[in-house]
């Protein structure tokens, strides 16, 4: 309610690094605090990978682009991928050996949620958790993986149900945004895609964001949950995978010298696109998923 002099704040919004310079450059330093960033992709594109990596890199000190913060990971779809997190955390410790003396997984709090109403109901719990936390590092990152799973099963396709659904969207997003503002949180939610039928551009002939139509695995897709939800997020990122590029040598990848081959299908070309964001231009960036994590590739 009080006027905030912009100059008394940091010169730019605080960002949480992805732990990869190429991805950070594409996204202006990482995921911005005080706002909701949505990662949209079909399954198997790397949404969860990116989220796990964020939860780790948020623990880095600000000098390395992190938030020196713990994170809260709300998962809705599968059981929490703790094996993968351990794998990532080993790589994380070995690349930053001086910073951490205990397991970084200790600073990732995990909570399962199974319905949209439950998600709204635990908001006060999250708030009091953020208020009275006496851990080493404050929580500055909330990941919801995925928001789509909660909303896609429960509601019927009738006008009344759809209205109830979109009211819940705005309630949840409003609550998340006020938490984000109050505690300086970066909020990341993941979303699924739906296939696009017909010749129309975008959802119901409506284009949202920079890209006319999103293409993944050779199909035209659009983010799930419709227009109402699109109004609830501040930025939207889209991950795509396309298999058409075959036989690309991964030797050109410069990020890590560790040569692992059989972990990822070589012919998959993954890209990250900025669909819309208040602070970013229309840009995209290629990336690979390896055992050590997600890395951007310089083209």
């Amino acid at each position: 309610m009080t006027p905030e002099n912009l100059l008394h704040r940091l010169p730019s919004t605080q960002k949480c690094t992805f732990g990869c310079p190429v991805l950070d450059r594409c996204l202006g330093g990482g995921i911005p605090c005080n706002s909701i960033t949505e990662i949209v992709a079909e399954s198997g594109c790397g949404k969860t990978q990116l989220c796990l990596q964020l939860a780790l890199s948020a623990q880095l000190p600000p000098s390395l682009g992190g938030l020196s913060a713990s994170s809260l990971y709300i998962h809705t779809e599968f059981s929490f991928p703790s094996r993968r997190l351990h794998q990532l955390s080993h790589a994380f410790i070995s690349s930053h050996p001086r910073i951490f003396n205990n397991d970084p997984c200790d600073r990732i709090f995990v909570h399962a949620v199974y319905s949209a109403d439950q998600l709204f109901d635990i908001m006060p719990k999250i708030e009091s958790f953020l208020e009275n936390m006496n851990t080493q590092l404050p929580v500055k990152l909330i990941v919801i993986d995925s928001i789509a799973a909660l909303f896609r099963s429960e509601f019927e396709n009738t006008p009344i149900e759809l209205k109830r659904r979109s009211a819940l969207f705005f309630k949840i997003s409003g609550k998340l945004k006020s938490l984000a503002k109050r505690f300086g949180l970066a909020v990341v939610v993941t979303n699924q895609v739906v296939d696009l039928m017909g010749h129309l551009e975008g959802m119901n002939g409506l284009k949202v964001g920079n890209l006319g139509s999103l293409v993944s695995s050779g199909r035209r897709v659009c983010p799930a949950l419709g227009l109402a939800w699109a109004n609830c997020v501040n930025s939207r990122l889209f991950l795509s995978r396309n298999d058409e590029v075959v036989g690309e040598e991964n030797g050109s990848v410069d990020v890590s010298a560790c040569g692992d081959g059989d972990f990822l299908p070589r012919q998959t070309r993954r890209q990250l696109h900025v669909v819309f964001a208040p602070h970013l231009p229309d840009s995209s960036c290629e990336f690979v998923i390896r055992r050590e994590g997600v890395f951007g590739v310089e083209r």
Partner: protein, 346 residues
């Protein structure tokens, strides 16, 4: 000329009338300090009133002496007054053209569009452009930015401010008039300093803030634009009682219109779009319902046409329906790329 017609704040007008000064001539011969004593206001404020009064007197000219009803205004005067206030440019020439030169003061303009079309970008751009000094054809005012969604990014504002100053210094190279002084005044940091930013997290906060704005603006007279980004967000959350929502919204709209009139400032409301269920099919409209569409003087819809962004005047009492392309660049809102090429070729 009546005091009621002076472009001064309502409280000043009230004080003048309460002290018995109902016409211009009744106090135009006084000294500012005398007036200050009579009205119990500061010398500066009194001097400001005198300045406005003498200015209006000159403008008034021949019209003086016509016995109009207290507070009334002839359309001729209004035309003069309107010409006195420059419009706020959008930095996109095509968009300015269809808007009749830019966003008008004393009016409420609603701008709506799908996510990612550039509503926030336009909002930030206007908050910066309102500060373009008078010498450069701007208003030299300040901006209030009410953020309900958390999309205002300081670094983006800084980027647009820098580009704005760059453009002005190019322009200043041609004018050469007070350029040094202006450059000193128009530092990016100063531009950011002149944007009063409010972040509201619920609809009660939003209404409270808008009720409090007239007090805030009477303390900061040079505020020339109020931007609400977006007016919609908190009103789509949890309203079982839609009649209550309509009442709250129309009350808020009236407050904003009054602000625009009283302080001669522009109000820009950003709105979201929604699917409206008509006759068994979904159609795209701006959010907040039918009654809300009466709340704004002008309504501009932003939409995609192929890969180009377009703006369309949906409703306006003075402008004809028209559409124009624009683009969002690293420098802010600019002419569409295809038009840029055309201009460059010429």
């Amino acid at each position: 000329m009546e005091v009621g017609r002076l472009p001064i704040s309502a409280s000043q007008r009230g004080k003048l009338i309460a002290a018995g000064y109902t016409t211009l001539s009744s106090f135009s011969s006084l000294s500012p300090s005398h007036l200050a004593r009579d009205l119990k206001i500061s010398d500066n404020e009194a001097a400001e009133i005198m300045r406005v009064a003498s200015h209006s007197h000159r403008l008034d000219g021949s019209a003086a002496g016509c016995g109009t009803v207290n507070g009334a205004q002839t359309a001729w005067d209004m035309l003069h007054e309107e010409e006195m206030f420059p419009r706020i440019t959008t930095s996109c020439m095509d968009l300015d053209n269809i808007l009749g030169g830019g966003i008008n003061c004393k009016e409420v303009t609603e701008i709506g569009g799908v996510p990612g079309i550039g509503k926030t970008q336009l909002g930030i751009q206007l908050a910066i452009n309102v500060q373009i000094p008078v010498d450069y054809g701007g208003l030299g005012g300040k901006a209030i930015y009410i953020d309900t969604e958390g999309s205002f990014m300081v670094e983006r504002a800084l980027q647009i401010a820098e580009a704005c100053i760059e453009d002005m210094s190019e322009c200043g190279g041609l004018l050469r008039k007070d350029f040094q002084a202006c450059q000193l005044k128009m530092h990016p940091n100063n531009i950011l300093e002149n944007i009063f930013y409010f972040r509201v997290c619920s609809y009660t906060e939003q209404i409270a803030l808008i009720n409090y704005l007239d007090k805030f603006i009477s303390e900061h007279k040079d505020v020339k634009i109020v931007i609400v980004d977006s007016v919609t967000f908190h009103f789509r959350q949890d309203f079982d009682d839609m009649a209550l929502r309509t009442r709250l919204l129309s009350g808020m709209a009236l407050k904003l219109m009054k602000l625009a009139k009283d302080f001669s400032l522009a109000v820009v409301l950003l709105n979201q779009v929604t699917n409206k269920y008509i006759d068994g099919s979904f159609q795209l409209t701006l959010a907040l319902g039918d009654s809300w569409s009466h709340s704004c003087t002008n309504r501009v819809i932003l939409y995609w046409n192929g890969n180009e962004r377009y703006a369309y005047i949906d409703k306006s009492p003075s402008l004809r329906s028209a559409s124009a392309p624009y683009s969002v660049t690293s420098k802010g809102i600019r002419n569409s790329a295809s038009n840029c090429k055309r201009i460059k070729m010429m």
